[in-house]
């Protein structure tokens, strides 16, 4: 079969089951697709055909993802393989262990397929902050794919991977999924183990799937979710069978539309597409209600205080002592610290370390960090109130605009920070959310909508998302490459 690379995991698993194809054929197909298109997209940092093939040949006898290649964001540790967070400071770092999600993928027969590009340490919303090269949007290579999991979103969109794993701290899975026209989900905080995810902001980070459709998202999440005793923040609640939620039926499902997410100045095409999606769901029997998340306007400010505070501490370990980059011929210890970090970190990483160090310093802690923690609780309460009122999901746009041009916002960090304005609150609250395609601009750029659920109710999100997807064909479109 020729175009195996263009199929979803669900379709490929069907063919594998019927024994019409072999896992090696999938690898070969997806690999040669990547060979031909990644020159334009630059989604991969590392992709090794032989390694992928040998993995495909030595798969376990069964498994939910048996034979499916899964691309992995470069901040997730794969034993013995370069894992650098797209940063010079982790140059040459090969972890001596696998992240828990990698172990889970392997035990279900997935083929760990390659490491994808990202904004350095996941700091960014455009995938331009990689210390290697920027990744480009498959729908328009003059544009960014979104970030920080831009590489993972782009390779799925360009059919260079069947599925991918990303991480989401403030929208880093959902925003690039939206800008690249694929499905991306941030699960409930604590649903997926963070063990082996190189931390950006520990209290916000969560690993999640990037896939071509909702069925694949449910499948991949089912594999990586679950309690892990190696992660004290993971939560010991059973993982339901997400496939059972994939019903084309939203009768009586109550969907909240928060007024704070539909404001003056947002992109007209984005707003129109999301409104149409709401109308479609309403037409299928969903109950649409207006809701309010009153503390939304503080989310970006709170996020940049808390996330940078944690990041400044999480990134302290990159000091040139044990692994990764060390400056040449340091004069003394202080010189080694200063030059290693000065030379090893990119501009955005330095900006965030400085900001985080500042908000934690004595004299400022109460005014910034502590206050931000309090507002975070208010934001969480907003969501709890909405779900307490009976909403099954909340529907919003994912990104205020479609993909912007390369370089357009990179000189203005604040405008870049606003790219995540619709996704950040979800991480602060810890609830799950998914982005899926809901239209295209006239110029052919994907538009995404976000479905937010209550804690550990990813299933309800999948239900609404699947019902929408079943009545549209946005997800079936492919970029011309």
């Amino acid at each position: 079969m020729d175009n195996l690379y263009s199929l979803t995991a669900g379709e490929l698993l069907g063919l594998l089951d019927k024994k019409t194809i072999k896992p090696e054929e999938i690898i070969e197909s997806v690999y040669s697709r990547a060979q031909s298109v990644d020159k334009k997209i630059k989604g991969y940092l590392n992709l090794d055909r032989e390694k992928a093939l040998s993995r495909a040949k030595s798969l376990p006898s069964s498994g939910k993802l048996k034979g499916i290649p899964v691309a992995v964001k470069d901040n997730i540790c794969v034993e013995g393989e370069l894992t650098t967070c797209a940063s010079k400071i982790l140059r040459g770092f090969k972890p001596p262990y696998n992240a828990t999600v990698i172990e889970k993928l392997k035990s279900e027969g997935a083929v760990i397929f390659g490491k994808t590009n990202m904004d350095e340490f996941a700091f960014g919303s455009s995938c331009e902050n990689s210390s290697y090269f920027p990744t480009l949007n498959p729908w328009d290579t003059a544009r960014i794919p979104g970030g920080s999991s831009g590489g993972s979103a782009a390779v799925v969109s360009a059919d260079e991977a069947v599925m991918a794993i990303g991480s989401d701290t403030g929208g880093s899975i959902r925003q690039p999924a939206s800008l690249c026209g694929v499905v991306g989900m941030k699960p409930t905080y604590g649903r997926v183990s963070r063990y082996g995810l190189i931390a950006f902001a520990s209290s916000l980070d969560q690993i999640g799937p990037l896939t071509k459709d909702i069925k694949d998202a449910a499948l991949l999440l089912g594999v990586i979710a679950g309690f892990d005793e190696k992660d004290s923040t993971s939560v010991n609640v059973p993982v339901p069978d997400y496939a059972s939620y994939l019903k084309n039926d939203v009768k009586g499902v109550k969907i909240g539309i928060p007024k704070e997410y539909f404001v003056e100045g947002m992109d007209k095409e984005v707003e129109a597409s999301v409104r149409e999606a709401i109308a479609l769901l309403k037409g299928k029997g969903a109950q649409i209600v207006d809701v309010s998340l009153p503390h939304t306007e503080y989310a970006v400010a709170v996020y940049y205080i808390l996330a940078t505070a944690e990041a400044s501490s999480n990134l302290a370990r990159f000091d040139g002592v044990q692994y990764g980059y060390r400056c040449e011929d340091p004069a003394n210890l202080l010189d080694m610290y200063e030059r290693t970090r000065g030379e090893g970190f990119g501009a955005e990483a330095k900006r965030r370390i400085i900001l985080g160090t500042y908000v934690l310093s004595s004299g400022y802690y109460d005014a910034y960090y502590l206050k931000a923690q309090k507002v975070r609780m208010l934001i969480k309460n907003d969501f709890e109130q909405v779900f307490k009122s009976g909403c099954d999901c909340i529907l919003t746009p994912t990104s205020p605009t479609p993909a912007f041009k390369v370089g357009e916002r990179s000189a203005d960090p604040l405008s870049m920070y606003l790219s995540d304005i619709f996704t950040i609150s979800v991480n602060l609250a810890g609830v799950p959310a998914l982005s899926m395609p809901c239209g295209f601009t006239k110029s052919g750029l994907p538009i995404g909508m976000q479905l937010i659920g209550n804690f550990f109710e990813e299933g309800k999100i999948f239900n609404a998302a699947y019902a929408y997807e079943s009545n549209t064909d946005w997800h079936k479109r492919s970029p011309k490459l």
């Binding site: 540790c77 972890p95 902001a201 004290s232 400044s312 000091d319 044990q322 310093s361 004595s362």
Partner: protein, 478 residues
């Protein structure tokens, strides 16, 4: 002018758990550098800490033993600072909500007692260790110690002399040994101490500017360093100078403290709640169980030895200075219910032998039941107290029972009157003058004759029986 020191101590104790604070690595001392390590205690990118439940339980036991109120919540903070032996460049510690607060320790000082209040007892992880190349300019780092579970025990500034500081450390160490939670070995670094000292006019109430003294590696060094600091600060004030707040290091070779850094250069640790360890509630029932399970602590045990076993204050004090000795003593008393006699033997011949051979009472070959057996043999008259002193040494050497040694060596006392009468008659015949002296009223002349009989029997005669036989025979002569 007369000054007095105001001292607060910060003691770091390494808990004797099997594995480290946040990973499964061994806590065994020694090992080639970096062999007792894993990605977690090396702080590798992506790894996460998981709290060792055992370390938490041990910490709770110590907190309860010093009378602290244990918090109903366990919460950790990050303490951020750069240092090459700190793998994550932050230490996981406790800050605004420590495990426990408001305890006390009673110390013995100048024949009396004094209560030192304990501000807090909290948990944290240890750092690694730097090894500096001798004669070179390289440094190496050994992370075997990284992530070891530590307790920090912080006293209030209630200590008013270097002697009190010394006694506080001694009594704290004793308590920790009773609990069995730590080796408290300063040489292995399992107990470390920093001291804060300021001075004020004797009898005053305010607090002066303090100096923090670090790098003291024995209780004696703590005492010497505090004596030096007291002198230094006193002279400073006498000379009309101002004391500056600073950290000072104890130089054991020169016997002085030297300035390390002043307050201006002090760290800003940027504490914030550790996001990788979610705070959790401590069950009150669990804490209560640990409280019930605490062993009898030295103070209480000493009081019981005096009240229930009628020991002197001195004996009770000596016996409870070491948990093993006190346990050993009580076990002996179970088999031989004369505490004072057991105490005399333990504090006398037995400890003399053990000290000379540098053995611990637990490591000795003499088991409590065997010692009790020996003392019973004395009571029954089978051997004399003097013979017992020789036998106990052999028991300590070989681990044999008293009865075995007695029969092997034919050491049983001769109480057979027939045999002894023969020796008594010989002694009277050979010492007619002495016999006459006795009959003329010189009572102690009899002792000489007893001695003669003992000699003839090579000390095996039962002196009481000999005494009686001699009296009988001499009175018949009258």
């Amino acid at each position: 002018m007369a000054y007095e020191p105001v001292i607060g101590l910060e003691v770091h104790v390494q808990l004797k758990t099997v594995s480290k604070m946040f990973c499964g690595c061994t806590t065994e001392f020694g090992g080639a550098p970096n062999t007792h390590t894993c990605p977690v205690c090396l702080g590798f990118p992506g790894v996460l800490p998981v709290l060792n439940r055992r370390a938490l339980v041990e910490a709770i036991r110590v907190a309860l033993a010093v009378g602290c109120k244990v918090s109903d919540k366990v919460k950790f903070h990050r303490k951020n600072y750069f240092y090459p032996d700190l793998p994550k460049d932050y230490q996981i510690s406790q800050y605004d909500e420590p495990l426990s607060e408001n305890g006390r320790l009673n110390i013995k000082i100048n024949g009396g007692e004094k209560t030192i209040k304990i501000k807090r007892v909290h948990m944290e992880e240890d750092a690694g260790k730097l090894i500096h190349e001798e004669g070179g300019d390289s440094s190496f780092v050994d992370f075997n110690r990284s992530g070891m579970p530590l307790l920090e025990i912080v006293s209030e500034p209630d200590i008013n002399s270097p002697e009190e500081a010394y006694m506080y450390l001694t009594d704290l160490k004793l308590l920790l040994r009773y609990l069995g939670v730590s080796d408290c070995d300063m040489e292995k670094g399992s107990l470390r101490c920093d001291a804060n000292i300021s001075i004020r006019k004797k009898g005053g109430t305010g607090l002066g500017t303090k100096a923090e003294v670090k790098n003291m590696n024995s209780f004696k060094a703590v005492k010497s360093a505090l004596e030096f600091e007291f002198e230094r600060q006193s002279k400073c004030l006498e000379a009309g100078e101002r004391i500056i707040q600073e950290t000072r290091l104890w130089d054991p070779d020169k016997g002085i403290t030297v300035s390390m850094r002043s307050k201006e250069e002090a760290h800003d640790y940027r504490y914030f709640p550790e996001p990788d360890l979610v705070p959790f509630a401590l069950e009150a029932a669990m804490v209560e169980n640990e409280r019930k399970d605490l062993p009898e602590l030295p103070e209480a045990r000493k009081a019981r030895f005096i009240a229930a076993l009628s020991l002197t204050e001195y004996d009770a004090e000596v016996l409870t200075q070491d948990k093993d000795t006190a346990d050993y003593f009580e076990e002996c008393v179970k088999f031989y219910n004369k505490p004072k006699i057991v105490s005399n033997w333990l504090m006398g011949d037995v400890s003399g032998y053990l000290n000379a051979k540098n053995l611990s009472v637990r490591g000795s070959k003499l088991k409590p039941q065997a010692l009790a057996g020996l003392l019973k043999e004395v009571d029954s008259g089978k051997i004399s107290g003097k013979m017992a002193k020789d036998i106990v040494i052999e028991m300590l050497d070989t681990g044999k029972d008293a009865s075995a040694i007695i029969s092997e060596k034919g050491l049983a006392q001769i109480s057979d009157t027939g045999e002894l009468e023969k020796f008594a008659e010989e002694a009277i015949a050979e010492n007619a003058k002495t016999a006459e002296d006795f009959l003329n009223g010189k009572d102690n002349a009899l002792m000489f004759l007893v001695g003669q009989v003992m000699k003839k029997t090579k000390g095996k005669a039962n002196p009481a029986v000999v005494n009686k036989i001699l009296r009988d025979k001499l009175s018949k002569k009258q």
